[in-house]
Symmetry: C2
């Protein structure tokens, strides 16, 4: 398989972006990625665009207005989606396009505009991320799915309410040093626990916010990458797996089995072990999700995730820094953009360009992006 590298990254400010439409958010990240790679749009062969929720974008195929607005016409574009893992699915698709020899340089865009629609509408739509025929129709909301997992995890392993809250506290702290993050204020465990209940045991501060935002990465073939930049970040491992759409058909509620399989594939392809990985981005849509990710990715045994956060192991400066950019929790989660945003952060970390949130000497990074409540998982491994 031909090698593929990240040669440029861009990111919009995440948050409530009343000032920008979906296409404008996308452009913000695209412009920055082109500038970062020192490329003009004419040097891009194609775009792969990840927008998850067309209902919120109003457009049937939201990549069309983005393609026109950024000026890529008449070059190829397609939309890729896998719920909240849409951005990583788009990167995987671009990797395949380049590795197959069809393209040399591909611009991957992830974008979502979530705060324009009334919150009840968005809550309703997000609920339909779960199975509509058998589960959503009985009243489950998106936090409800993860709340069930949290309850079961606490029951089986003694994971505490405080440990869940510590994930939010860490990620808010990390986001202080991320100028693109939606929330840049410290919180503490008490504040998380005392915030309004969303779905027991998850309170408001256990949940990632609704976010507008976009991110872009430019991928290139080995030959082109070496001409474009001296600091290629190689995408050396790719893994992805799926699980049943209905949670009631899952073998377990205390983890996402697809994460395990995706990690196995990616680490085998990249030929790395857990010890080799210096910096990690995981899909912390809810605090319990980050704790389960530690375990599912094999950084500790099942049930020990709570200990990892409590002992500070996953802080910047810890043994295994996780979500140095603030994660979905504090950086924000514009669903189609999130996987691309993770790739942006890992790239910056491996280049040593992450400023105050830099993980010192990071050479190998991993991103973990979950579609809905584990229906799909994508793991990417990156190397300096």
């Amino acid at each position: 398989m031909k090698k593929v590298a990240i040669v440029g990254v861009g990111h919009s400010k995440f948050g409530v972006r009343k000032d920008a439409s979906l296409r404008e958010l996308a452009f913000e990240s695209v412009r920055e990625s082109l500038s970062d790679a020192n490329l003009s749009l004419s040097e891009i062969d194609a775009t792969i665009t990840g927008v998850c929720i067309s209902e919120l974008a109003k457009e049937v195929n939201p990549s069309f207005p983005v393609a026109e607005y950024i000026g890529i016409n008449p070059k190829p574009d397609m939309r890729v989606a896998s719920a909240c893992a849409t951005g990583s699915a788009a990167i995987r698709t671009a990797w395949m396009g380049i590795s197959s020899g069809l393209y040399d340089v591909v611009l991957v865009i992830g974008a979502e505009k979530m705060t324009e629609s009334p919150t009840p509408i968005v809550t309703e739509v997000m609920g339909r991320g779960g199975d509509v025929q058998w589960e959503y129709s009985y009243g489950t909301t998106f936090p409800g799915y993860y709340a069930m997992m949290a309850n079961r995890h606490m029951h089986e392993f003694g994971t505490t309410r405080e440990q869940l809250a510590m994930v939010a506290v860490k990620n808010h702290k990390n986001a202080l040093d991320n100028p693109y993050a939606q929330f840049r204020k410290e919180i503490n465990v008490e504040k998380v626990i005392n915030s309004p209940m969303v779905s027991y045991p998850l309170t408001l501060f256990d949940c990632c916010p609704l976010t507008d935002g976009a991110a872009a990465v430019i991928l290139a073939s080995e030959v082109r990458a070496k001409k474009i930049t001296d600091t290629q970040i190689w995408l050396t491992g790719l893994g992805t797996a799926t699980d049943s759409h209905t949670l009631s058909n899952r073998e377990t509620l205390v983890g996402l089995p697809a994460s395990k399989i995706a990690f196995k594939q990616a680490s085998k392809m990249a030929n790395v072990t857990h010890q080799d990985i210096d910096v990690v981005e995981v899909h912390d849509c809810f605090t319990i999700a980050e704790i389960m990710a530690y375990e599912d990715l094999g950084f500790c045994r099942k049930g020990e995730g709570g200990r990892l956060i409590a002992e500070g192991i996953t802080e910047i400066g810890g043994e295994l820094p996780v979500n140095p950019d603030g994660g979905l929790k504090a950086k924000g989660h514009p669903v189609g953009a999130t996987g691309v945003s993770q790739a942006v952060e890992i790239t910056k970390q491996l280049r040593g360009e992450a400023g105050n949130r830099q993980v010192e000497g990071a050479e190998i990074g991993l991103s973990h992006n979950v579609g809905s409540s584990g229906q799909s998982v994508f793991v990417h491994i990156y190397r300096r």
Copy 2:
């Protein structure tokens, strides 16, 4: 680039399918494709699923319920979309996955359930296939976009109302021999012209119907394909291009420039000329679209498309048989399935398995699939 072949095809009955949900329609086509390839699901490495309109599927990511229902979990799946060219985008993605070496055997599914929602809702959603910010918001419907093209084409080239109608007549006639088609009854020019007006000059019988349906193709690497079947159909040419989302920004209204570019790419890659192509599937969502496709794909000069249909050149038995399966017009147009359905038909034609609609001795085929009103076009070339 590594060679990729179609080794199995499957198709659901197209039509108003009150008896089947989206996942059940998908299964219908998947089962047939596996049986056709004589493969079990365990021999499939991944699925790529094309469903265009999540609003109609109700699901945020409609590939998830399909993946669970057909039983592909925990293997990889992703959703690909490009409006009405979704099916072809999915095939292109699978091709990239195999040619890159990531997969050996990929199942591509295209499915859409359009008749469950009230027709005004579907009309509204389809209208949002056009640009929502600048054009749809002023009242354009989907037929309206193509009606503007028809009017301009008639004005510039003298294309007649009767010639438009002849496209519908031909495709209805072809569908008589397609057991999967939605409409299997002959019509005549008078009936088309006298049917209710939809958007001048297009009447009801100039428009493809709303359709429920699914189609599936199994793609395989060269090594695997030769083990699976003796009648591989090679996907030798791929082309795709885009155009502005807003029609008002287009250079022309009498054709889809992206079709021209996509054909050029695909024919170059497959190393074929127009004379080599024996059978063609084009995107006839409206009668004018088929006439423009003849021209844009270069089978005649711009403005001469009306003559091609009038002289019978594009009938089965003519010099250039187009839409032998009845096309979108009579076979039906479940949008996410259409591109995959075109690949199914070309495969059957090149295998000599098309029954009464067989194009004698067909060795090279082409499919042409349009996203929305030309925002994207995918052209594939196939060889026996």
